[in-house]
């Protein structure tokens, strides 16, 4: 409703400057004048605030000098380092030339040339197929899919081709030089097609790696690891963190190992596992559990979904030692809704409630 009200206001002011809109917008401004209730509704109905508070990593000097960067800037930095050090590296996808719809590739085309940072036609199966071929021919290929929601046309190329290239050829050929990046996850208003987290569709496909960072510092190191890794990698970037997440990030190259989960805080009663944006939700949930329930929570960031770190999570047949069944707190079995997002997402209250039920099992 608030969004609709905003459109009305824009229409009213634009009467004179927008050709063709004249008659309609005057009608709209008349409507606004006729219903005084509208203006009071404007104040009370703001869009829902974010469901998490980003918790930045502490500053580290182990990788050299750092700079304040948000998530999309840390991605740009990783790509910049790569293009500088690897002359075969190329970045391509829809709209990457002008800087990308999320500004991840800003400045790179001017700096490194139009043969290295370029737009492709609008075709995800083509983008990934092209990337595979470039990787097979020895180039470091970094493909961008504009939203993870649009990765499905490329599913065949990823699962049937990229993942199996090395195995099926007896290691004569491989596309290990390929990395596919895509914005991922809920963003507050993304609805069905700008909010998806499709890692589960790929999680049982041997031959690819899937990585999801929780913030800028992690993102740059993990992305550089994916690019360096000699296996095709999917790198999903939580889009809601692109501007919201700001950290001190090393300017130079560094890598964070793949297939290694990270225990963010130790705990003795309940283990909480998540990746991406949800880490910040669970960190808050851990505090809530401690304060309100006296429950000590271990928080683990999985980071690499495939191949995943079974050792850190499971610790030797852990199922035998659990005192309560495992709780999965996630979205419902529906497509990702628009206006119902606040009810749909596994927010801190749902996670908190799950812990409460678990300890009272």
């Amino acid at each position: 409703m608030a969004a609709a009200a905003r459109v009305f206001i824009r229409g009213a002011h634009a009467t004179l400057s927008v050709p063709g809109a004249g008659k309609q917008s005057s009608a709209r401004s008349a409507l606004l004048k006729l219903s005084p209730g509208c203006s009071s509704r404007l104040k009370t109905q703001q869009r829902h605030a974010a469901h998490f508070t980003f918790q930045p990593e502490p500053v580290t000097t182990q990788y050299g000098p750092t700079q304040k960067m948000n998530l999309f800037q840390s991605i740009t930095s990783a790509l910049d380092n790569t293009l500088a050090s690897d002359p075969t590296a190329v970045i391509f996808g829809e709209d990457v030339a002008f800087g990308g719809v999320f500004r991840c590739t800003v400045g790179l085309r001017d700096k490194y040339g139009k043969d290295r940072v370029f737009n492709t036609p609008l075709c995800e199966q083509g983008i990934v197929g092209f990337g595979i071929g470039a990787a097979v021919a020895g180039a470091t290929a970094i493909a961008e899919i504009q939203f993870a929601d649009y990765i499905f046309p490329a599913f065949d190329q990823i699962v049937n081709e990229a993942a199996k290239y090395r195995y099926r050829s007896g290691n004569l050929f491989d596309c290990g030089n390929l990395t596919i990046r895509a914005p991922w996850g809920c963003v507050g208003h993304g609805s069905l097609y700008h909010s998806q987290s499709p890692e589960a569709f790929f999680a049982h496909c041997p031959g690819i790696k899937i990585v999801i960072p929780r913030g800028p510092l992690e993102a740059k190191g993990l992305l550089l690891s994916c690019i360096a890794d000699n296996n095709p990698c999917l790198f999903f970037e939580p889009k809601i963190l692109y501007r919201a997440a700001v950290e001190q990030v090393p300017v130079d190259s560094y890598t964070i190992p793949l297939s290694q989960a990270e225990v963010l805080q130790e705990g003795s009663d309940v283990t909480l596992v998540a990746w991406g944006t949800q880490i910040h939700v669970l960190k808050e949930v851990a505090n809530m559990a401690q304060e309100k329930l006296g429950v000590s929570c271990e928080v683990i960031d999985l980071r690499t979904i495939l191949p995943w770190d079974t050792e850190t999570i499971c610790k030797e047949e852990c199922f035998l030692n659990l005192e309560a069944p495992i709780a999965r707190v996630c979205g419902y079995d529906t497509p990702f809704p628009h206006i119902f997002e606040p009810f749909y997402i596994p927010d801190k209250w749902k996670c908190f409630e799950a812990i409460k039920r678990m300890i009272n099992y």
Binding site: G126, G133, Y167
Partner: protein
């Protein structure tokens, strides 16, 4: 009465609307924004005082009568050929005038492929290998195109291009090893027969999904263009695979990104049982090329010289000008789709016989050779005997060979072995040790 007033009210509204529109037209010059060019591609500044269309999406002329463009399927793109069906050169200036040695090599490679096909097809029928696909009738497309390339040009194939690999020198033992999936198979026994690959010969390993190689070939060509080492890419596919979305993607990308590659379509009349009139309604595959901004040609695929000439020129220009070329080689699939197919279910024996007897790439080349006294009946007899002998010997060797060590089930999934795969491998060997009488362990290397 009411109707009349209604009409006048309507016309009153229309008049009001017309006045509004006129007012807006007067406003337009004041509100028009200037257009800034940020793309590397330089576009003309828009100028509405010119009568020429100003649309960024297409540059053409205006036309003032309504007419739909007729797709030209009746008299479509002509078929380029050098020899007639009897192997006579039609236009002497088109004869590539290859040496006797080269032409003999063409002939021997085509016939060796044919012999290998017969023996391996039979071996599947006898249960010795699990599956096979023959190349009957299409040998000319393989040898003609392969001969026109450089040895370091990269080949992406579909599954009916064994002659390209044979021309490049892939040994019979390795063809057999892949079909038998024995311990000598370069592919380590992981794929069905005919899924060949060779790094040394620049032939990317075949995969079963159709047309997936098309956008991959484009990416490879782009990478090779950046390397600037005078290497091209050729991408083979059938007219059926050309219906896949990946084909459209590949064509569009190759032209837009200016890649040095050749798209080589083997139009052999059938995709398993589906004839071409159920595969497409336009003028074949060659007619699609111009739609993508690509230079295109249709050739007689059963004329090895026509295939050679077209591929040679396409390769030269693709590398020199960094643009893709589309060659549609018309031919006929004389054999069944595979050993899992019996094509008598959907086509007549007479139709197949016509192509086998009246328009075959091997016999047309033989007529060319015999007309020049380069090949005699005795040569034919002794070559047939010799080629059959070498194929049979390779066949027997391949049959005797053990299968690869089962540990190769677990390697090359990733570059490195992962902990969980390692565990699975140990678990499998433990299991086999315990239940060994139920597993064919003796057929495999230890």
């Amino acid at each position: 009465m009411a109707a009349v007033s209604g009409v006048s009210r309507m016309s009153g509204l229309c008049f009001h609307a017309a006045r509004q529109t006129a007012a807006l037209k007067a406003l337009r010059p004041m509100t028009r924004r200037s257009f800034r060019v940020t793309a590397a591609h330089q576009q003309q500044p828009f100028d509405s005082s010119l009568e020429k269309p100003q649309f960024p999406g297409a540059s053409a002329e205006f036309v003032d009568h309504l007419e739909f463009i007729q797709p030209n399927v009746i008299s479509g793109i002509p078929v380029y050929r050098v020899m007639d069906r009897q192997g006579n050169i039609i236009n002497a200036s088109e004869d590539p005038q290859l040496s006797k040695e080269t032409v003999l090599n063409f002939y021997q490679k085509m016939t060796l492929l044919n012999t290998m096909d017969r023996i391996l097809y039979e071996s599947q029928r006898q249960g010795r290998i699990s599956f096979y696909m023959t190349n009957y009738g299409e040998e000319g497309t393989h040898i003609g195109s392969a001969a026109a390339l450089e040895s370091n040009d990269l080949v992406f194939g579909q599954y009916r291009e064994a002659g390209v690999l044979m021309y490049r020198g892939f040994p019979l033992d390795l063809f057999m090893a892949q079909c038998y999936a024995n311990a000598d198979d370069l592919g380590k026994g992981r794929q069905m027969p005919v899924h060949y690959g060779s790094k040394d010969l620049n032939f990317v390993t075949i995969s079963s999904p159709l047309a997936t190689q098309i956008p991959q070939a484009v990416g490879a060509a782009y990478a090779l263009k950046r390397e600037n080492m005078n290497r091209a890419v050729i991408c083979y596919f059938g007219e059926g695979a050309a219906s896949e979305g990946d084909a459209h993607a590949g064509f569009n990308f190759s032209a837009t990104l200016e890649c040095p590659l050749i798209f080589f379509c083997r139009n052999n009349g059938y995709a398993i049982s589906t004839p071409t009139n159920e595969q497409y309604r336009g003028d074949g595959i060659a007619a699609r090329g111009p739609g993508y901004g690509m230079l295109s040609i249709r050739v007689d695929g059963n004329d090895v010289f026509a295939v050679y000439n077209a591929t040679k020129e396409a390769r030269r220009r693709a590398v020199a000008e960094n643009q893709p070329f589309l060659i549609e080689a018309m031919t006929y699939r004389i054999g069944h789709h595979s050993t899992s197919d019996d094509s008598s279910a959907y086509r007549s024996v007479d139709e197949v016989n016509y192509w086998d007897k009246q328009d075959h790439p091997i016999s047309r080349l033989r007529h060319y050779m015999t007309a020049r006294d380069w090949w005699s009946e005795d040569d034919e007899r002794s070559w047939r005997k010799q080629s059959r002998k070498t194929v049979m010997e390779a066949f027997e060797r391949a049959e005797r060979r053990l299968k690869p060590n089962p540990e190769l089930l677990f390697t090359d999934v990733y570059e490195e072995m992962t902990p969980s795969l390692d565990k699975q491998r140990e678990s499998m060997f433990r299991h086999i040790q315990q239940y060994k009488e139920h597993y064919p362990v003796d057929l495999y290397e230890k």
